[in-house]
Assembly symmetry: C2
Homo-oligomer: 451 residues x 2
């Protein structure tokens, strides 16, 4: 007997229908926003090794158990244990115009402190690493003030960030060899405000580790202005940042087992650690809880995945990347094959598309689904990128994907005391989760080429 | 002598280059955000006929004079003069569970007050106008509580708003004939919170004008829950809303004269009036100041328009639409021809495209420019729509265009005390202005079909 095609069509729900039910679920019945409130307000910030991180590990583990995922477990990860210390002082001591000027400054993550003796020195202002060489003979004994702004004319804010962030991440390593005493960095943001932005640096083996602090963009402008009139300005820096021995922490993993191809994995998630200011709402509480929400939606809609789905809360993205690496190592040792990995680490903003890193064939396959997402406002499938925590999976031939939310507001909040629950919009957060869940559904249904 | 095409190309800057300079200008040197701060913080809300509206008229007039536009003037408009009154009371008086419950309620714009005697009555809950007929015999002597929620599953929030808002705008007119004593409306928003949303109603000639107030979505849920347990709940309403005689006000108009086709006009802008709560930051301070910013950008980049460009701050969009109508009447009496009108009245959010209302030919022409806007994140050129204040221009054959920002956050703030300066993001606002300026540039360069 002939099976008429329309009967097959009638039996199987279309991708459009499934996606509509996914978005409906996320926009009407979702606990996602409330979960983010708990993570932000009841737990708060959670730098690797902190009590906040420990509480967040237990909270997300319990949440996935409560949602009755097939497996929920912790993966052991040793992480750096950097502490800011109790006091942070940064001030101009001798302004002829304004006398003593106190700055609201933050020690950079992974930096060493000055200790109680502090550092008092003159300042040399540079606009970026590229100016070091020209001024290398003027650096010795001074505090180097990196004051290169983020370019506001770049539409893609992440590109502007990428172009400016080397001052923060490598300024100390590059000026240490010329005898700099410490580093001050203009906060890496396009906003002009009074809020200093945290973030990490990397020292270089064999180069003296310099204390380093960030100031707000308004303070950076003020300091630059004062330096124009008075070259012999003195800055006093005192902080107690300290790098303690590595400590025990965990990735948090929840899983729905595949019914047909359980040995093919699709992983989604974000990083559970955050900076030690604000609440890590956009960076990256949103991404973590979106990952859990994707699996919850599958269960709630009774969609049985063919492949095994994992929500992972990686630990230590901010100052070490140990969780992402440990996850890939474990996966390799178990001979797992991840067909795709999706990271959400650009904030809980309205989704506009997906970035990807993979083969041309994989990208082509992804691009075919674009029209399914356009009714939901996702148009941008062209940008390269995956994510810091999933990048170690690339040697499995895994297609790496990043949720691409609108990026205009991200660097207002990034690494600051203003990255709090209230800065996240409920619908924008939910639309992101629904978009990831829809893509996971398509990847699970149709698979994707291995390279 | 042959003029080689490449020479012509070399002499004229490409549209892409001009657009890039427009976006650069808006994102790096713009006073737009500071202008919005002044309008919101120094002046504040500005309902038609209020002192705030008068101050805003003078502020925007002075701003355009300061920017040295070719002509700046006021157009006289008589506007409704509705006042909320000093006291607003709405409370349950006899809950068996909770006793007296006070609601934070707002009288609807253009509604009559109860006066000092107040109204005490039982409640009938309806989910929308469509339920009136079925319950028409139960309405007499009661307060009708319209509690139909905005559909959260619609991706286009303006569609969800459109489907729900008739409860607020027409609930009183439709239940008055059945003897209702007053109206309570669930705030028209998808957010679940404690914030009541203002907005206007329209009475019907020959139908008794009923007092009407809005409550927050959380209060609406509470009221609905209590009604389930106790049908004889009593509500007491008291307010002093009053409709005073029409009063003198103005549209504010600034102009750059066209060099080649001065009798062809392109108008851009928003409405200067706002509700009498919050600061009217998104609705519609953003649109007004974006209109001024477009002309400022032209002057700053020394782009001489072929056609005449006008920035208009229409008065009274919120509760009468008198400004938009008066502007079209003036234009008609002067025999002006507007080739296009662009309204920005969907908030200062990140732009995603343009809506349009016009002939197929006009829309086709607009669509051709879409690829120029895609690098700036504008992909949506398909939606129908123009704007309330420009719609009276349609009989000139004018192409009506609306800036289409992302709409996910709009109805959180709409008509509330939370529509304040801080809810607007600087870059999002600037990108909107640059997008309008770019479209004005293209319309001015190439013109557009008349119907």
């Amino acid at each position: 007997m002939l099976v008429m095609p329309y009967l097959i069509l009638a039996q199987k729900k279309s991708d459009e229908t499934i996606m509509a039910s996914i978005y409906d679920e996320a926009l009407s019945n979702s606990p996602l926003y409330e979960n983010l409130r708990v993570l932000c307000k009841d737990i708060g910030h959670r730098l690797s090794g902190s009590s906040g991180a420990a509480a967040a590990i237990e909270y997300t583990r319990q949440l996935m158990i409560e949602y009755n995922f097939d497996t929920v477990y912790l993966q052991s990860v040793m992480v750096p244990n950097w502490k800011r210390g109790p006091v942070e002082i940064l001030k101009i001591t001798n302004s002829k115009k304004q006398g003593v000027i106190d700055f609201n400054a933050l020690a950079l993550g992974n930096s060493v402190g000055t200790g109680p003796q502090g550092i008092l020195a003159e300042i040399i202002e540079l606009k970026g690493l590229s100016e070091i060489n020209e001024h290398r003979d003027e650096i010795a004994g001074k505090i180097v003030f990196f004051n290169g702004p983020m370019d506001p004319t770049l539409i893609e804010t992440f590109s502007a960030y990428g172009a400016a962030v080397s001052q923060r991440s490598s300024g100390a390593a590059h000026t240490g060899p010329y005898g700099a005493k410490a580093i001050i960095v203009r906060s890496i943001t396009q906003s002009l405000d009074d809020v200093p932005h945290a973030g990490s640096l990397r020292y270089k083996a064999g180069v003296k580790a310099l204390p380093a602090m960030a100031i707000s963009t308004k303070d950076a402008n003020l300091l630059s202005q004062l330096l124009k009139d008075q070259a012999d300005l003195l800055i006093y820096m005192e902080n107690y940042a300290v790098i303690l021995p590595e400590t025990q922490s965990y990735n948090v993993i929840g899983q729905l087992n595949g019914n047909l191809l359980p040995n093919e994995y699709i992983v989604i998630g974000g990083h559970l650690d955050s900076w030690d200011v604000g609440e890590g709402a956009h960076d990256d509480g949103s991404g973590c809880l979106q990952g859990i929400e994707v699996l919850r939606i599958f269960k709630s809609l009774n969609i049985k995945p063919k492949r095994t789905l994992r929500a992972v809360m990686w630990m230590n993205e901010e100052n070490g990347g140990k969780g992402g690496k440990a996850y890939a190592d474990m996966s390799k040792s178990r001979n797992e094959y991840h067909i795709a990995a999706i990271e959400s680490d650009r904030g809980g903003f309205v989704p506009r598309g997906f970035t990807s890193t993979g083969s041309a064939k994989q990208k082509q396959q992804l691009l075919k689904w674009k029209t399914l997402f356009e009714p939901y406002g996702l148009h941008d499938f062209a940008q390269e990128g995956g994510g810091a925590d999933i990048s170690p999976l690339s040697n499995q031939g895994t297609l790496l994907i990043g949720l691409l939310p609108d990026g205009q507001r991200y660097f207002r909040y990034h690494h600051t005391e203003e990255d709090v629950f209230e800065a996240v919009d409920r619908r924008e957060l939910e639309l992101g989760a629904a978009s990831i869940a829809s893509l996971v559904y398509l990847l699970d249904q149709y698979g994707i080429a291995n390279q």
